[in-house]
Symmetry: C2
Subunit: 199 residues, 2 copies
């Protein structure tokens, strides 16, 4: 398969790229590095990316920012960051890619544990992750041409603990290699409309 | 209690207003009718509403639009309708209201069954409902002053079947009086961070 990984240089993306590269042709996309550059906040940038890489069998997104901050002070504009980036950035990968990806192709998006197991400062992440999970469940039942879509909802990565640790005290960190398995299950398996939790 | 019901003239809102009016002082808000007018898409309109109604013990939102349409043709702009209205409209009620509501007060938002049990044409609703559920779980753990927040996630209302029926074939319609009970549980009970499903 020819697989596009958006956010391939991120912590999750690098583990996914490494795992899938054993068996597939990988095209790495990122905002600042990769085989192709993309700003997922801009659907015309997404379209350019798809046109430049040619026919794909799978699109994996491990990209998207949200604002972390104390809820008492979180503003509408700070919520908008996550809506524009991690949420609609990933949704737009599907909206643009749905016509360009090969028959039987798949989309795999990234949500996260905070939708159900919230932490302080994570209200925007919880909102966005819940939205991604709802979206893939619904989009799956309407996709044509045998296309599939799933989300991977990982706990905090072991390898991210140096930076995210203080937010996630008491959470079980998950090794990146194990998180990558869920992406392989989505891409190489046959299920659709699923949220693969890795906890 | 003095309870603001946003969307009080809608199908859900009217059942909630009727149920809570037996025991409480109700202030009805709506875009086109009610004791006070509000455009939930505009946080300055929300702020004016809160300032005009005085101190509240509870805010119930049964308001918010999303676009229903075939996923294959759904555009970024059509997804934006639900993000701006049902999602951020309700979130902004909390962002503005969190400083103005009385100590120990509560917010009750409305999501819906489509987050987990999708139907054709409902991908935007599924996204938004999942976002609302994630948001209340997270906001609850950071709210100060004993404030609480929950969501009610109803199935399709029996009374909405004339218009929504074709989208919801096979779904069990839920009587509005039973949906209203979940709002009473949220407002008059003590739980927080919950998604009360009414199926």
């Amino acid at each position: 398969m020819k697989i596009l990984i958006v956010g391939a240089s991120g912590t999750v993306g690098a583990f996914v790229a490494s795992a899938l590269a054993e068996r597939h042709q990988i095209v790495k996309a990122g905002s600042k590095s990769g085989d192709v550059r993309v700003d997922i906040k801009d659907s015309s940038s997404i379209r350019k990316m798809f046109e430049s890489v040619g026919k794909l069998d799978a699109v994996v997104s491990a990209a998207g920012k949200v604002h972390f901050g104390e809820f008492a002070k979180m503003t509408e504009a700070e919520f908008a960051i996550g809506l524009k980036d991690k949420l609609m950035g990933q949704v737009n990968l599907v909206l643009v890619g749905r016509e360009l990806i090969a028959d039987g192709g798949s989309f795999t998006l990234t949500s996260g544990v905070l939708s159900h197991d919230p932490v302080r400062a994570g209200s925007s992440a919880s909102l966005v992750n819940g939205a991604i999970d709802g979206f893939v469940r619904a989009a799956a039942i309407e996709l044509p041409r045998g296309l599939r879509i799933n989300a991977v909802s990982p706990g905090v990565l072991l390898e991210s603990m140096p930076s995210y640790g203080p937010y996630f005290r008491g959470h079980q960190p998950v090794p990146g290699t194990r998180v990558a398995l869920a992406y392989a299950k989505s891409v190489e398996g046959a299920r659709t409309g699923q949220v693969f939790e890795v906890l």
